[in-house]
């Protein structure tokens, strides 16, 4: 089972991860053509004013001094203030309200991916005949050929415009005003006991989560299928079946647990693509999370926000992989951590 030492060791890994990301982003911002002082001052500001801002930001110092100062401030979780999007607001403050939005959608999307992907993969492995193989294959190929920014509009048009089952965009119907506690809206509405609001929030979340989850489903089902096939072909499964130990179901159950192990580890790395997909999904569904925030920050050159957002993405990715590792050690107790 999982040891406390293992978890602490993994948490300590966050230090190099975030240090690496911070350095990476620092480099990107200094390689990009924009001038932060100009962004803050605005296009029409005088050269004099821009120069003054540059001095205030310390942009005239040698770059290694800037790098040192940047790291020193980052260690204290001070990522500066937004240049443009929410001018003057500390980046951490901006992110605090946007992060739960994305997190919520990503988690539900991931759940959809897992809950749909694993059965689909199992089905593909167990039911092996020409027809179902063919159908799975065409389905998978069509699936990867349809980008989120088209499947998103399509489901909005179908389920929101034509059928009217779900709302088209946003997070909750406008008649509800929910005081953000955690910012995770399905959680907040439940806590405050407002079930009508919860229902509205859940309905708003369903389509975007589904759209984002489909892609993770494609990978998970593929992984599940080939992993399960391998387990089925292994000798001990054959012998178990030949010896007539229990029903086919029992054998499959045992095989399933073994087959699940590699699938779980892959969920960790595909979470990154899920976050990439969140950027597109938020744009399609008009959800103001960190995905749309990142896109806007890059467009207008709001560097502190870019930094904060990318660091948040990396943090999320690392935490999900930690969770995956913990799950893994439960599934496969043979592994010594």
């Amino acid at each position: 089972m999982i040891s406390k030492r293992f978890v602490i060791k993994r948490l300590l890994l966050l230090v190099p991860v975030l240090f690496g990301v911070a350095t990476f982003v620092f480099a990107i911002l200094h390689l990009s053509p924009g001038d932060p002082a100009r962004v803050i001052a605005g296009q029409r500001a005088s050269e004099e004013f821009v120069r003054q801002i540059r001095t205030e930001l310390g942009l005239n110092d040698p770059i290694w001094v800037q790098y040192g100062r940047f790291l020193f401030e980052a260690v204290q979780l001070d990522f500066g203030q937004s240049y443009q999007i929410q001018r003057g607001q500390p980046v951490t403050e901006v992110l605090r309200y946007k992060l739960p939005v994305t997190l919520e959608m990503a988690i539900y999307g991931q759940l959809f991916g897992i809950l749909l992907g694993i059965p689909a993969g199992l089905l593909g492995a167990v039911k092996q005949d020409a027809v179902s193989d063919h159908v799975t294959r065409i389905g998978a190929l069509t699936g990867i050929s349809v980008p989120i920014y088209w499947s998103g509009p399509l489901v909005i048009l179908l389920f929101a415009q034509v059928l009217g089952w779900f709302p088209a965009s946003g997070r909750i119907a406008s008649e509800f005003s929910i005081e953000p506690i955690t910012g995770v809206i399905t959680f907040d509405t439940l806590i405050s006991g407002n079930f009508a609001a919860f229902q509205s929030a859940a309905m708003h979340l369903l389509l975007p989560s589904l759209v984002i989850g489909i892609y993770s489903m494609a990978l998970i089902s593929r992984m599940m299928r080939s992993s399960m096939l391998e387990v089925i072909r292994q000798d001990y499964m054959r012998t178990a079946r030949a010896k007539g130990q229990g029903s086919k179901i029992t054998v499959m159950k045992h095989g399933f647990q073994n087959a699940l192990i590699p699938v779980v580890t892959v969920i960790g790395i595909q979470f990154g693509s899920l976050l990439g997909g969140a950027v597109l999904t938020e744009t399609v569904f008009g959800i103001a999370g960190i995905g749309t925030l990142l896109v806007r920050a890059i467009q207008v050159g709001d560097y502190p926000i870019v930094q904060g957002t990318v660091l948040t993405f990396a943090f999320l990715f690392t935490m999900v992989n930690l969770l995956v590792d913990i799950t893994y050690s439960y599934l496969d107790p043979r592994i010594e951590q």
Binding site: P16, T23, R222, M223, S227, T265
Partner: protein
């Protein structure tokens, strides 16, 4: 392939230090050449210093990320390649070593860019 990496994964500490040292030196030299080159191409010393340092920092940050990523996602990557990627010669240890070398080049570049800027700045 397997026996190959088994031999490589147990170098002495001294070999390792030599490798890192060479990578650091390589980075420093590259940056030391790049800064004057950019200046000669007509840019200011400030500009040259900033861009060369940033490129080195990009390499440095990238490899730290790669190093820690190899540790925390190593198992996932190995499984991914086994079942989907179709290639199995990736190993966590190998990846960490490569990232260490690359990171040293980056770090060397950052130091080299800083030092050269001081020198070039004094000359120009």
């Amino acid at each position: 392939m397997a026996s190959d990496s088994a031999d490589e994964s147990s170098p002495t500490l001294r070999d390792y230090a030599m490798l890192i040292g060479r990578a650091l030196a390589l980075g420093a030299v590259l940056a030391g050449v790049a800064v004057p080159l950019v200046v000669l191409s007509g840019e200011s010393v400030r500009f040259a210093s900033e861009k060369v340092f940033a490129v080195a920092a990009l390499v440095f940050g990238f490899s730290i990320l790669g190093w820690s990523g190899s540790v925390f996602a190593g198992r996932g990557i190995e499984n991914f390649q086994r079942y989907i990627g179709g290639r199995s010669d990736w190993s966590e240890a190998d990846s960490r070593r490569a990232m260490m070398v690359l990171g040293s080049v980056g770090a060397g570049g950052m130091v080299g860019a800083s030092l050269t800027t001081a020198v070039v700045g004094a000359v120009v």
